[in-house]
């Protein structure tokens, strides 16, 4: 008796193991989408990066619910994942496994090129002609060789967020429009013992954005376009960007210990320094208003009227287009084998009505024409105006060049901030990374 029980136990153990193995290896296969739209019930899995509790996350939930109400055959399953985890590990791994989410966050630029080359994304050119036209030029960031593979829902250019009160206290009458004026403003603020500019160099990209802007001023638009397409960085303007940056760091415009300051966490972060009135300026994207509001807490009501925005100043005599601006956005793409309803949902997300509601929650600037009226914040309206007036919007260079060259570039720029890097080494490292 005892013996047979043991044997049975052993066999049960083995059976469990086998079952576990089988469970791990079999993958639920979805029935292929076929026939008419909304004819069969489908479930769309949706991965987005609004993982923090807040207006963004609530908004996407509402969008999914509304779409399901309008089209009851479509059920949307949301998974909200922190942006780095989502973009660096979850999406690439899911795409490799051939079981990706149907609709997911896409940065555009260099990354989408890789994904299209690997055959991961659905070509939505024909279905989204109206939407792409309504969005305008920024839709091109989600195109590869003229075909559309995703659509943006948020887009904005960056500039300096500044404290009007600290400016007037220091005797600065108008926001700087040239680099020389910016340098003079830095001197005046220093004389008042105010941190002129805060920079979150600890996160690398906020520091790198200075180099991007200097490159935007030093390089012609053609050179920038060629660099994005061909990953060629031979033009001396890229080295010039580094030496201009070195000069600018030389006037010591930043807070102490800036090399390890993070950009968005805590009152000591670069955004926190502006939000609490300790620093006068920060170069940052359109999302910074929401970040500062979170960091300032209760004191935001008093601080908010003081906050203004101006674009990155022109550099006199520089060959780059002074009206060109640096910016970026967020979009969504459909997986290649996603049901046709995925594209309909994507179109719904970027429709003017939904975009107007998105604009109203003040977490980013909408892209669709007809949504502008949803923006209530004057400062965001001024960014939208500047975005529309920009002669050319260059996508963040690290996104445009893809993660590999982008990371090497940002690391090299941070080394300039740390005092150990050189303008030449940034470009050398970018070239080496392109081959890595």
């Amino acid at each position: 008796m005892a013996r047979s029980r043991r044997v049975r136990t052993a066999m049960a153990l083995m059976a469990t193991t086998t079952l576990l193995l089988l469970g791990a290896c079999t993958k639920g296969s979805e029935a292929p989408a076929e026939g008419q739209l909304y004819a069969n019930p489908v479930t769309l899995t949706w991965w987005h990066n609004a993982s923090d509790e807040g207006p963004g996350k609530t908004f996407w939930q509402k969008v999914a619910t509304d779409f399901h109400t309008a089209h009851p055959t479509v059920t949307i399953q949301i998974e909200a994942i922190e942006t780095n985890q989502l973009q660096r590990t979850r999406i690439p791994a899911a795409l490799l496994s051939n079981d990706p989410p149907d609709i997911f966050q896409a940065w555009g630029g260099g990354e989408i090129v890789d994904q299209v080359e690997a055959g991961y994304l659905k070509d939505i050119t024909d279905q989204t002609k109206t939407e792409a036209t309504n969005i305008g030029s920024s839709a091109a960031i989600w195109q590869v060789q003229g075909r559309q593979y995703g659509l943006p829902f948020r887009m904005g250019i960056e500039g300096f967020w500044y404290n009007k009160k600290l400016f007037s206290d220091a005797g600065i009458t108008a926001p700087p429009t040239t680099l020389d004026e910016l340098k003079q403003a830095v001197d005046k603020l220093k004389a008042k013992n105010v941190i002129p500019i805060s920079v979150g160099a600890g996160d690398k990209w906020p520091a790198a954005h200075y180099w991007y802007n200097f490159a935007l001023r030093a390089c012609s638009v053609d050179t920038l376009k060629k660099a994005t397409l061909e990953k060629v960085f031979d033009d001396p303007c890229f080295v010039k960007a580094g030496s201009d940056l070195k000069d600018f760091i030389g006037i010591q415009p930043f807070q102490p210990n800036f090399i390890a300051t993070v950009s968005q966490q805590g009152a000591g972060s670069s955004a926190g320094l502006v939000a609490t009135g300790k620093a006068a300026m920060e170069l940052m994207g359109d999302w910074n208003l929401g970040v500062m509001q979170t960091l300032a807490g209760d004191s935001w009501t008093a601080m908010k009227p003081n906050i203004g925005w101006f674009p990155f100043p022109a550099i006199s005599g520089a060959p780059g287009d002074p009206k060109a601006a640096l910016g970026g956005g967020d979009g969504f793409a459909c997986a290649k084998n996603a049901p046709a309803e995925c594209v309909e949902f994507l179109k719904y997300i970027v429709s003017p009505a939904v975009q107007k509601d998105y604009a109203a929650i003040n977490v980013g600037l909408p892209v669709a024409k007809g949504a502008e009226t949803g923006i209530s914040e004057p400062v965001l309206q001024s960014i939208l105006k500047a975005t529309n007036e920009a002669s050319y919007v260059q996508l963040w260079l690290d996104t445009a060049y893809g993660s590999t060259v982008g990371t090497a570039m940002n690391d090299g720029i941070v080394a300039i901030f740390a005092g150990s890097g050189t303008a030449e080494k940034v470009v050398d490292d970018m070239k080496a990374a392109a081959k890595k």
Binding site: R3, P92, D114, G202, S403
Partner: protein
């Protein structure tokens, strides 16, 4: 790695324990007993072996395979480059910084924690009021989650954080440094945090080791006129040897693979500048963030190779007597 093979060994020994003799004897029973023994061995080790194979050996094989490709993670790896990724890693000064930082953490942890932990364990081994409380207290940092510890120290050591405020309040404002921003200093700040976090583990292990030292020995020595110090030096410490050696082994492997606390405490910029990176953070920065998957795998293989060789050498030359029989259990 070593933990899993240990548990396999344990299961092996447990099942190999001779069964209690049963009243019915004879040839057929012995054969049945042998058969039953094999059922047990297979039944009890199969789950462990399957899990070990699936989640350790197979991924290791994949890592080795992927490390030979120039592969960015989109589509299957196709561009075979041989050992190029390994050469690139050793040519990268930032990787050499990471390796050097790992060595600082391995050696620094041993030099600081061994004497400190032995001292504290010896004190906590004596009888005094509140001993249980202090024993509990030294273990607190060890049981806290790594990420929580990291965030806590990041806040304390931020510029104008509570550490700086405390120093200024004590009139030691001259000692204030950029604990996490002064590049050459950061690795030492991190070593301090790691020591704070993990010394409780060393102390608790040493206390367990001390409780195994027979009381009669020190009593006899005391009767012979040995002082407390002499007893510790000539009786307690030599008998604590196996525990200390095991701890050194665990500490060394942990230090080589250090990732989470540094990832949370140090700013990304200080990692890419080589001031606060380890091989593991370098692997994630390059594998996932720079999206060099093949290259990242080669760094993983290097990290594994170094840890594996270190573990083997340590087991072969230092732990030989301590683990005799444990990994090479004789069949009976």
């Amino acid at each position: 790695m070593s933990r899993t093979s240990e548990s396999v060994g344990l299961a092996d020994r447990a099942s190999a324990r001779p069964a209690r003799p049963r009243p019915t004897g004879g040839q057929s029973t012995r054969a049945a007993r042998t058969r039953r023994k094999w059922y047990e061995i297979i039944g009890l080790t199969t789950p462990a072996l399957v899990v070990y194979t699936m989640f350790v050996l197979v991924p290791m094989g994949f890592a080795l395979y992927y490390s030979l490709f120039r592969w960015r993670g989109a589509g299957p790896p196709t561009e075979f480059v041989g050992l190029r990724n390994y050469r690139l890693a050793f040519e990268d000064p930032i990787f050499r910084d990471a390796l050097w930082n790992n060595i600082i953490i391995v050696v620094g942890s041993l030099l600081v924690q061994v004497p400190l932990a032995i001292g504290i364990a010896l004190v906590l081994n004596r009888r005094f009021r509140g001993r249980a409380f202090f024993r509990l207290l030294v273990l607190v940092p060890f049981v806290l989650a790594e990420v929580a510890v990291g965030i806590m120290w990041r806040l304390i050591l931020a510029s104008d954080g509570s550490a700086d405020t405390l120093l200024r309040a004590l009139g030691l404002g001259g000692l204030v440094r950029g604990w996490l921003s002064d590049l050459p200093l950061i690795i030492w700040t991190l070593l301090f945090i790691l020591t704070w976090k993990y010394i409780g583990f060393a102390i608790i292990l040493f206390l367990a080791g001390l409780s195994n030292v027979p009381h009669e020995l020190s009593e006899a020595a005391a009767i012979d006129g040995a002082s407390w110090w002499q007893i510790q030096r000539h009786i307690t410490l030599p008998l604590l040897g196996p525990t200390i050696r095991i701890w050194i082994f665990l500490s060394m492997i942990g230090s080589l693979q250090q990732f989470d606390i540094i990832w949370v405490v140090a700013a990304p910029s200080t990692r890419s500048l080589g001031a606060a990176n380890t091989m593991a953070t370098y692997m994630v920065d390059n594998g996932f963030f720079a999206r060099l998957w093949g290259y990242g795998n080669s760094v993983a293989v290097i990290l594994f190779g170094i840890s594996f060789v270190a573990a083997l050498l340590f087991q072969r030359f230092v732990l030989r007597r301590d683990i005799e029989g444990a990994l090479t259990g004789r069949a009976n």
